[in-house]
């Protein structure tokens, strides 16, 4: 006698899973072998989906770890490994975290770029240039080499503040020298065109300008000694323009209130 088919029946209506091949038992049920084959088919489909999701998770994990490294942050709990969940919700968690850390990176990137641009402007004004690999990366805008960590922002901020202080010091120095040279020009009745030509040729706050002004003052001092060696008032004047010890009164700030003072402004 042929044994009846095994009493394979469902207890409830299966919930739909559209992207998976769902085993639907026939009204009369299935024997073991076709049932096993159906299960194997389902397992195969699930494995395919599993592999795709696992690959997606690995890719997201790589992206996230790179972002953590970029911003110099440690790996958040829950993302140290993909874990044994390969659900769409887990992928969504990674996407959310990538978005969050990516946002931090973008904000810091903007801050780093802004500081780098300000530093480059100051270098240009001061006649400086990059002195090491790090500063070369700043100059070339190679922000990937600098990174996006808080340390980078601290270093760049410190550089910016240092350069700003240097700029201010030079502006003050040039202002003092400018006042001195103006007084000398007046004493020596230097023609207006000559004064203008000098000012146009020596704009800015770079070392070259400061050196040039020093040279001119020195030259004027020599001229004064040669041309009017016995003039008491000029001797006093020369002593007065020993700039490091006796800076003249500064009134240039009222003439040029901006921070970008030049010799021309100072005069």
């Amino acid at each position: 006698m042929i044994p009846p088919n095994p009493p394979f029946r469902t207890h409830h209506t299966p919930r739909p899973t559209p992207h998976l091949s769902v085993f639907q038992p026939s009204p009369n049920g299935l024997c073991l072998i076709p049932y096993r084959d159906s299960l194997e088919h389902i397992r195969g489909n699930l494995q395919e989906t599993w592999d795709l999701r696992a690959a997606t998770l690995r890719e997201r994990e790589g992206t996230l770890f790179q972002l953590y490294a970029d911003v110099g942050a440690g790996i958040e709990s829950g993302f140290s490994c993909t874990g044994d969940r390969v659900s769409l919700a887990r992928i969504a968690q990674y996407d959310e975290e990538i978005k969050r850390v990516g946002g931090i990176k973008s904000e810091r990137g903007a801050e780093v770029e802004g500081l780098a641009a300000q530093i480059k402007d100051l270098w240009e004004e001061l006649g400086f240039g990059p002195r090491d690999e790090y500063e070369r990366s700043v100059a070339q805008g190679s922000f990937g080499e600098l990174g996006w960590g808080t340390l980078v922002i601290s270093i760049l901020s410190a550089k910016f503040q240092s350069l700003s202080a240097e700029k201010l010091a030079r502006e003050e120095k040039i202002m003092v020298m400018g006042q001195g040279i103006t007084t000398l020009w007046k004493r020596l009745a230097t023609p207006e065109e000559e004064q203008t030509a000098f000012l146009e040729a020596h704009a800015g706050i770079g070392d070259d300008v400061i050196s040039a002004v020093r040279r001119v003052i020195k030259s004027f001092n020599s001229q004064c000694r040669i041309e009017v060696p016995h003039t008491t008032s000029l001797s006093v004047l020369l002593l007065t323009f020993s700039l490091s010890t006796h800076p003249p009164h500064c009134s240039a700030k009222s003439i040029c209130p901006t921070s970008r003072l030049s010799l021309r402004c100072a005069l």
């Binding site: 095994p6 009493p7 394979f8 029946r9 469902t10 207890h11 409830h12 299966p14 919930r15 739909p16 899973t17 998976l20 769902v22 085993f23 038992p25 049920g29 073991l32 072998i33 049932y35 096993r36 299960l39 194997e40 389902i42 397992r43 699930l46 494995q47 989906t49 599993w50 999701r53 044994d84 969940r85 390969v86 659900s87 769409l88 919700a89």
Partner: protein, 93 residues
């Protein structure tokens, strides 16, 4: 298949009867010989059944394993566990 097996047995017994009649084999000897044949055939059938029982056990284990695997995968993938639930009554003791 069963019909063929019955006819084979029937033919064999018929031939044996003819041979034994021709040879004048005594009934006690015939009974003893038939008893031995019965024992051999029973052993052979028992072996066949045993092999198929083993095969079914293997199939059951395979199905149980697949059900567990599928359920684990569906849980890990947050997919509805409908397939395995459908199979459980079949394998329940």
């Amino acid at each position: 298949m069963e019909k063929t097996l019955v006819s084979i047995a029937s033919d064999a017994l018929s031939q044996l009867g003819d041979l034994w009649n021709t040879m004048g084999v005594q009934n006690e000897e015939r009974a003893s010989y038939l008893s031995q044949i019965t024992s051999d055939v029973a052993t052979m059938y028992a072996t066949c059944v045993s092999r198929q029982v083993d095969r079914k056990s293997l199939l059951d284990a395979e199905i149980q394993g697949l059900q567990t695997t599928i359920e684990d995968m569906q849980v890990a993938m947050d997919e509805p566990v409908n397939v395995v639930s459908a199979g459980i009554p079949f394998l329940a003791p």
